[in-house]
């Protein structure tokens, strides 16, 4: 499967090793690392972390100043400057795909503590959370109109995000894409990783004989990707490219990697195949290398198998710590730097080879002479991602002799910058000085992506009206009961004993997702059986994720202390938990992606599924949206409600098995983008029956699908400033 490479126009980074790329290179040059013993917040956990001390931009929106978003924008600024971009031209569509873990969760400990005590805390943390979705916030700040997606695939999020963005550019959905990852140090993942027993009390030692676990870090790593055509049009040739990307899941376990690294091997082979190179052409590997016994052993085995025992590789986590969502973004940047500078630093923390690892990283600065390098990431839930970066043989000097600096205004040192209290600071360091692109001219044609719709081959749903689709369809045709105040789902326990045993630790969120995915899978079995396992992909989107389990984790944290929180609750409280169960139950081996984008999540997920089907990444994609209700959320909804516009909150899950277009399918689904917001909705708004949630567009689409008289429907998702996404349903035959 060939694909055209995507140019890297610019790179930016901020992390514990340095405030920007020049200072990171300074640290790498002398092999210096700076683990810090004192945590930036109160904790009884005793461990070193890698912290960012750089000035971070203050953002204009009062609720928008999460540390993670500010880290992101600092790196975005550097990457744009590196790319000679001080404003995007109005006809360019720019996508944003950012990976993260903490930023996507509602995990303010003081807020929940007050809530538990019945103190009715101020809702500021909730507003902060709603406004700080990374991709949406970045798109709004930069006034851009391309696809946007926040990837929450745990430790491989940053790498996955870059892969997604490269796919968008190849599909013609945008000319530029800002991609990478960001995360801040936070008490919740600190307690979570501690409880899993994978954190070391010493500075980490990746691949070393004495390695005893990871150190957490924070930061942001961003690459600006650009299509070949657009670079040529603005007279610039980008020297580096994403030559290939691969993603594959283990389908093995929620927290442990497959011992032989089978998913990682599939991902690497896929990336090499896309780049059309052999393993021997890889000059070096930036490994995931967290320094946990399990990761380094499994990853080391894969590196030995594919590249031989003498492979040149390092882990940079000895310099940055494990920055979770930021790791993949940072490491992509470091991979470019290795090729650009012609050297890689010693693998910090490594001193002696380990008996259980068949390879050893470089222990001194090593000259690099080659055209390709590989970055790998392994994540909880068994997600594996591999990125091949390449150097182009010939490139002309850019017509722009020196990089420009976007006028972000003076960066100012600040305190937390979260929530209230920006009075007196509004004139300094504001991103409003950025030359935002004007909106596209009115007469511009609707930007329809040239991507075929996807065929719906199987449907699954768990709804307040039930799980049996014929029953749900019947109830939709009946008049509604007097309006309930909330739409809940009866607890869906998987009936089959083998499945219910494997899901013994799962909560409602993961169960709803698993049961629904299983239904869609079962319904489409006959047309999926012959498909190779690694060609079936999975995308699960959720605005609020498994927040109920997250609050249970906080219960343990508050009741028993941060050294005795529950690792089972923690690992189930990350967005990717549902996808992990689904990949295990269905024995999936292809790309698995968890995303969070509130009310546009499902549209962007369908759009991505169409890309994967069209470019050959997958032959089938299982796509779903999941939302759950819980005490905290219901309380927030009731306190935030506008009296004359009541909301009936809902929950549930909807999954579709998608494939390439075929007339024998029930219907087709197509995500369309309308920059003029001219397309009216066609069809009914079913949110009064299903309740309203971040998954409402998925439920509205389901309602249309279950209404036999509906031949065509357009479900309009939320409009985000300049971009409106909608889902077009075209029926081929009756659903039942």
């Amino acid at each position: 499967m060939t694909c055209s490479p995507v140019g890297i126009a610019g790179i930016g980074a901020v992390c514990g090793a340095g405030d920007d790329i020049p200072s990171i290179l300074d640290a790498f040059r002398v092999g210096r690392r700076n683990p810090i013993k004192t945590l930036p917040f109160e904790s009884s956990i005793d461990c070193p972390t890698f912290q960012v001390s750089a000035d971070l931009p203050i953002l204009p929106d009062r609720y928008n100043n999460s540390r993670t978003l500010r880290l992101t924008m600092r790196a975005v600024r550097e990457a744009l400057a590196d790319g000679g971009i001080d404003a995007f031209d109005p006809t360019a569509r720019v996508g944003v795909c950012i990976g993260t873990t903490v930023a996507c969760q509602l995990n303010s400990v003081p807020f929940y503590d007050a809530f538990r005590r019945g103190h009715e805390p101020l809702l500021d943390p909730v507003w902060n959370y709603l406004h700080a979705n990374l991709a949406q916030a970045a798109a709004k700040l930069l006034n851009i109109t391309g696809p946007r997606m926040t990837v929450v695939n745990a430790c491989s999020s940053g790498t996955d995000a870059i892969g997604v963005a490269a796919g968008w550019i190849r599909a013609g959905l945008c000319e530029f894409a800002i991609a990478g990852g960001a995360d801040e140090l936070h008490p919740v993942p600190l307690a979570g990783f501690w409880s899993l027993g994978v954190m070391s009390g010493q500075p980490c030692a990746p691949f070393d004989r004495t390695r005893s676990g990871l150190n957490l870090g924070e930061g942001a790593g961003i690459v600006v990707l650009e299509s070949e055509a657009h670079a040529a049009a603005r007279g610039r040739r980008n020297r580096f490219e994403i030559s290939g990307f691969g993603s594959a899941c283990d389908g093995h376990h929620l927290t442990a990697p497959h011992p032989e690294g089978r998913g990682l091997e599939t991902a690497i082979r896929s990336a090499l195949a896309q780049a059309e190179i052999t393993p021997g052409e890889i000059a070096f590997v930036n490994a995931h290398g967290t320094a946990t016994p399990d990761n380094d052993r499994a990853e080391g085995k894969v590196l030995a198998r594919l590249f031989g025992p003498e492979v040149t590789f390092l882990s940079t986590k000895g310099y940055t710590g494990h920055a979770l969502g930021a790791a993949g973004g940072l490491e992509a940047v470091f991979t470019v730097l290795g090729l650009r500078e012609g050297w890689i630093p010693p693998s910090a923390g490594f001193e002696q080879p380990a008996d259980d690892v068949p390879v050893a990283p470089v222990s001194r600065q090593t000259t690099i002479d080659g055209k390709y390098a590989l970055s790998t990431s392994l994540a909880f839930g068994g997600n594996n991602a591999a990125l091949v970066v390449g150097v182009r043989d010939t490139f002309a000097e850019s017509f722009f002799p020196s990089p420009v600096t976007p006028d972000f205004g003076e960066l100012s040192r600040t305190g937390e910058g979260q929530g209230g209290g920006l009075e007196g600071r509004t004139d300094r360091g504001m991103i409003r000085h950025w030359k935002a692109s004007p909106p596209p001219p009115q007469e511009e044609e609707i930007q329809a992506p040239a991507i075929a719709p996807a065929a719906i081959l199987g449907i699954g749903a768990v709804t307040p009206l039930g799980r049996n689709l014929e029953e749900v369809a019947r109830r939709l045709r009946e008049p509604a009961d007097p309006q309930p105040s909330v739409q809940r789902v009866n607890d869906p326990l998987p009936a089959e004993p083998t499945i219910s045993k494997r899901m013994r630790r799962a909560d409602r969120f993961s169960r709803m997702a698993a049961v629904t995915a299983l239904d869609a899978w079962t319904q489409s079995r006959s047309v999926c059986q012959a498909i190779p396992q690694e060609k079936i992909g999975l995308i699960v989107t959720s605005g609020f994720g498994p927040h109920c389990r997250g609050f249970r984790f906080l219960d343990g944290l508050l009741d028993c202390g941060d050294i005795a929180a529950s690792p089972t609750d923690f690992s189930h409280s990350v967005h990717g938990a549902a996808a992990a169960y689904i990949t295990e139950l269905l024995e999936l081996r292809g790309p698995s992606l968890s995303t969070t984008d509130f009310e546009i999540g499902f549209e962007e997920a369908v759009l991505l599924a169409q890309c994967w089907l069209n470019d050959g990444t997958c032959q089938r994609v299982l796509v779903g949206a999941v939302e759950e209700l819980g005490d905290v959320m219901l309380d927030c909804v009731s306190r935030m409600a506008v009296p004359d516009r009541p909301i009936v909150p809902g929950e549930g899950a909807v999954f579709f098995m998608l494939g390439p277009p075929t007339p024998s399918a029930i219907a087709s689904i197509e995500a369309t983008v309308d920059l003029r917001q001219a397309n009216p909705p066609i069809g009914h708004d079913w949110s009064t029956r299903f309740g309203r949630s971040a998954a409402s567009s998925a439920f509205n689409f389901l309602g249309a699908l279950l209404s036999p008289e509906v031949e065509i429907a357009r479900v309009v998702g939320a409009s985000c400033e300049l971009r409106q996404t909608s889902l077009l349903l075209t029926r081929h035959k009756p659903t039942f």
Partner: protein, 74 residues
């Protein structure tokens, strides 16, 4: 039982010498293992780091019980 969500397994079903972990035992996995560490810390005050280092002690009830009795602080 409750902490590990082991439905349909009663305490008397677990033989004193049976392997707790692995396919040929009760079937607990690595995530159960770290959960047990936390549960033991909460109930008996056992030191988390010490338990993470000495994993052999978790093999069966027969190996675990003496460890708990010898080290409990609650």
């Amino acid at each position: 039982m409750e902490n590990l969500s082991l439905e349909n397994v009663k305490p008397e079903d677990i033989g004193d010498d049976a392997n707790l972990f692995g396919e040929d035992g009760i079937g607990l996995d690595s995530l159960d293992g770290v959960e047990v560490v936390v549960v033991l810390h909460r109930h008996f005050g056992l030191d988390v780091k010490a338990m993470q280092k000495g994993r052999d002690v978790f093999r069966s009830i027969n190996t675990l019980a003496p460890y708990v009795l010898a080290n409990a602080t609650k």
